[in-house]
């Protein structure tokens, strides 16, 4: 990080010396908003690093539309109040576009600020469906919203030849929504829902549910809630001799799941967001990242890098730094990055889900293909 900072500083200083005010005015400034302090500071650091890596690469190729790109980072600390301050700071600095946002709660109140200012904003991590409703048309969600997981789940069921699925949730808003959406999507795709069950959070005994699943003749179980219950359910399903497939929602993406489920977890599928360790084409990126910043690329680094590339691509296609033109260019994006395809719907959400199935092998999650 130190290296890149120096290089960036050098480049800006040289440009400033050589071309004085003209170059500075023409520079394109990208704002990065991420949690740089607090519990999620590590994720924020990854987002900043990965976006800068993409921007540096673009500058090395001569910038965009002949202009150099600079960045400025604002810390939202994953806190709604601090996010509003950070957003106002970026606007007052006159940024061309903004990328970032990890926590949906912190992103939500800033959508109005960016919307009123008409600044293009590409959201990297945050993926609550509430963001879709609050969007004024200038914001784009580069991560799949939670409900798109249902699509990925149904694709996985079909690929594995599951015909009868038992869907189990924990009764909270998140897991029961996902269960409902998946059940509907699977029925529409010609599948059968053999059982739809709900467990009590904090409960340890799932035998009643396990028995129902077994007697329902389901080929596979889809668990939409969280890792603690997921691990217990997996164990008890296998203990009762259930031979079918087990698929877990993204709330189970935790090392604790693998620890508790132990050998019963082998071969279980997990629907994962595009974290860098599970992307087949990201090995080169990981090595470069480690080289540049002296640390391992975190979960959202690949997607952050894609968004950095995407914004450069959009500015190039807009052929100017005009914010309205950039928003139009983003709407027309057809971009293929490390974490998958980025094409937006008319609501500025991803057209195709970027959740991907991974499988537990030898006590680790590994990519399926």
């Amino acid at each position: 990080m130190v290296v890149s900072f120096k290089r960036l500083a050098c480049a800006t200083a040289l440009a400033g010396l050589a071309m004085t005010a003209v170059a500075a005015a023409a520079d394109i400034k990208i704002g990065i908003v991420a949690p740089m302090t607090g519990q999620l500071a590590s994720e924020g650091q990854d987002m900043e690093n990965a976006v800068k890596m993409a921007i540096d690469a673009a500058n090395a190729k001569g910038g965009v539309n002949g202009d150099k790109i600079t960045t400025t980072t604002a810390d939202d600390a994953c806190d709604p109040q601090q996010a509003v301050t950070a957003g106002s700071k970026l606007i007052s600095e006159g940024v061309t576009a903004i990328v970032g946002g990890y926590c949906s709660g912190a992103v939500l109140p800033t959508l109005k600020i960016y919307g009123d200012a008409g600044v293009p904003f590409v959201i990297i991590g945050a993926n609550s469906t509430k963001l879709v409703a609050a969007n004024q048309g200038n914001a784009f969600l580069a991560n799949s919203t939670g409900d798109m997981q249902a699509t990925t789940a149904v694709e996985l069921f079909k690929k594995n030849g599951y015909k009868k699925i038992a869907v189990i949730d924990e009764g909270d808003a998140y897991s029961s929504d996902l269960a409902k959406l998946t059940a509907e999507a699977f029925k529409n795709a010609g599948g059968e829902i053999a059982a739809k069950e709900t467990t009590t959070a904090g409960e340890q005994d799932y035998s009643a549910v396990v028995t129902k699943v077994k007697s329902s003749g389901a080929d596979a179980v889809f668990w939409t809630a969280y890792h603690a219950g997921g691990a217990l359910l997996t164990k008890q399903l296998r203990q009762a001799g259930f031979q079918g497939g087990i698929v877990l929602g993204d709330g189970n993406n935790s090392p604790e799941y693998l620890e508790i489920a132990g050998s019963a977890g082998e071969g279980v599928f997990l629907l994962s967001p595009p974290t860098v360790d599970l992307l087949s084409g990201a090995a080169d990126f990981k090595a470069k990242y480690k080289d540049a910043y002296g640390r391992d690329a975190g979960a959202y680094a690949a997607l952050s890098h894609d968004v950095g590339d995407l914004i450069v691509d959009a500015i190039a296609r807009a052929k100017s730094a005009d914010q309205k033109a950039i928003i139009e260019a983003l709407k027309a994006s057809d971009f293929k990055g490390l974490a998958g395809e980025i094409k937006f719907t008319d609501k500025n959400t991803l057209q195709t889900s970027n959740f991907r199935p991974v499988v537990a092998k030898g006590g680790k999650w590994v990519a399926t293909e």
């Binding site: 904090g202 549910v209 077994k214 890792h227 217990l232 009762a240 508790i260």
Partner: protein, 303 residues
């Protein structure tokens, strides 16, 4: 319901029911002796599971992660958490013994929160894996797979409860316990050391809950700070169904409650989300129509 389903739910009900019964026993004994609903009892169960896990990870190095390890952890935890129960009684309940009933009930809630909060602070809310080598081997009864672990578990809890019943009904200390539960003042006049008997009651009740905690931890493979909450509520329900204050009643109530859960949630048109409705519905019905529970007639005579 097919025959397989009936057998499977019988197994399920017996297992979860024996956990309920073990915890309900402690509730019932304490209530019998000092008329206190010890709301910290579910947290005692949770503490037992954690102490057992710690003991297991130490002794596992020498005796392995199989049965020997689990039994060692069980004994260590029962002893340590039994003493914890005595300490709680000494400092939280004994000073309140002559206070109004409501005060001591609130103290019990406080004790519960202290235990729960301490566990949360120490563990950070994490779920810990309790990984044993017990495995899933077992018998197949038509399409129902019953693991040896399940069989041993039910047998062990029945053994513990039978031991408790024998202690209460056959020994001198048991006789003292029954005497104190009938009339504390008269017992003291007869030369019974009431404080010691109450401490012993807490020790035994807490040790049983700890035993349940270790067995549940090892059986389900996971331990966390909140595990005692629902268990405490259900064990309380079991104690009420069986007749609070009665030792055989707690066992019967626990097993019946387990079976009610298992069969209730496999009724047609009823999903597993209705399970707790059956449990707490039964609690309300019993409290309204038969507050003394199934075997609680002695309570009536006493009052």
């Amino acid at each position: 319901m097919t025959l397989d389903l009936v057998i499977q739910q019988l197994v399920n009900g017996l297992i979860v029911g024996s956990f309920y019964a073990l915890i309900a026993l402690g509730y019932s004994m304490v209530f019998g002796v000092i008329k206190l609903l010890n709301f910290a009892h579910g947290d005692i169960y949770m503490s037992g599971a954690f102490v057992g896990l710690i003991a297991f990870s130490f002794v596992g190095v020498w005796v392995g992660n199989g049965w020997a390890g689990v039994v060692c952890a069980l004994l260590v935890s029962m002893l340590a958490v039994g003493l914890l129960g005595v300490v709680i009684e000494r400092f939280a309940y004994r000073p309140m013994r002559n206070a109004p009933r409501l005060s001591i009930l609130i103290t019990a809630l406080g004790a519960s929160m202290v235990l729960n909060g301490t566990a949360l602070a120490l563990t950070g809310g994490r779920h810990f894996a309790f990984n044993t080598d017990l495995g899933f081997a077992g018998l197949d009864v038509s399409a129902v797979h019953i693991t040896y672990t399940q069989i041993v578990l039910v047998a062990a809890s029945i053994l513990l409860m039978a031991g408790m019943q024998a202690f209460v009904s056959r020994t001198m200390y048991g006789k003292a316990m029954r005497a104190v539960s009938i009339d504390m003042g008269a017992s003291r006049l007869m030369g019974i050391d009431v404080d010691r008997v109450i401490a012993l009651t807490f020790f035994m009740g807490s040790a049983l809950a700890a035993g349940g905690g270790v067995m549940a931890g090892a059986y389900y493979g996971s331990v966390h700070f909140f595990m005692g909450f629902i268990m405490g509520l259900k064990a309380f329900t079991a104690a009420v169904i069986g007749g609070i204050g009665s030792v055989p009643g707690a066992m019967l109530g626990g097993l019946l409650l387990g079976l009610l859960e298992a069969y209730g949630s496999s009724l047609p048109f009823v999903g597993s989300e209705w399970r707790d409705v059956f449990v707490f519905g039964a609690l309300i019905l019993f409290l309204v129509f038969k507050p003394t529970g199934l075997l609680g007639r002695s309570v009536v005579e006493r009052v």
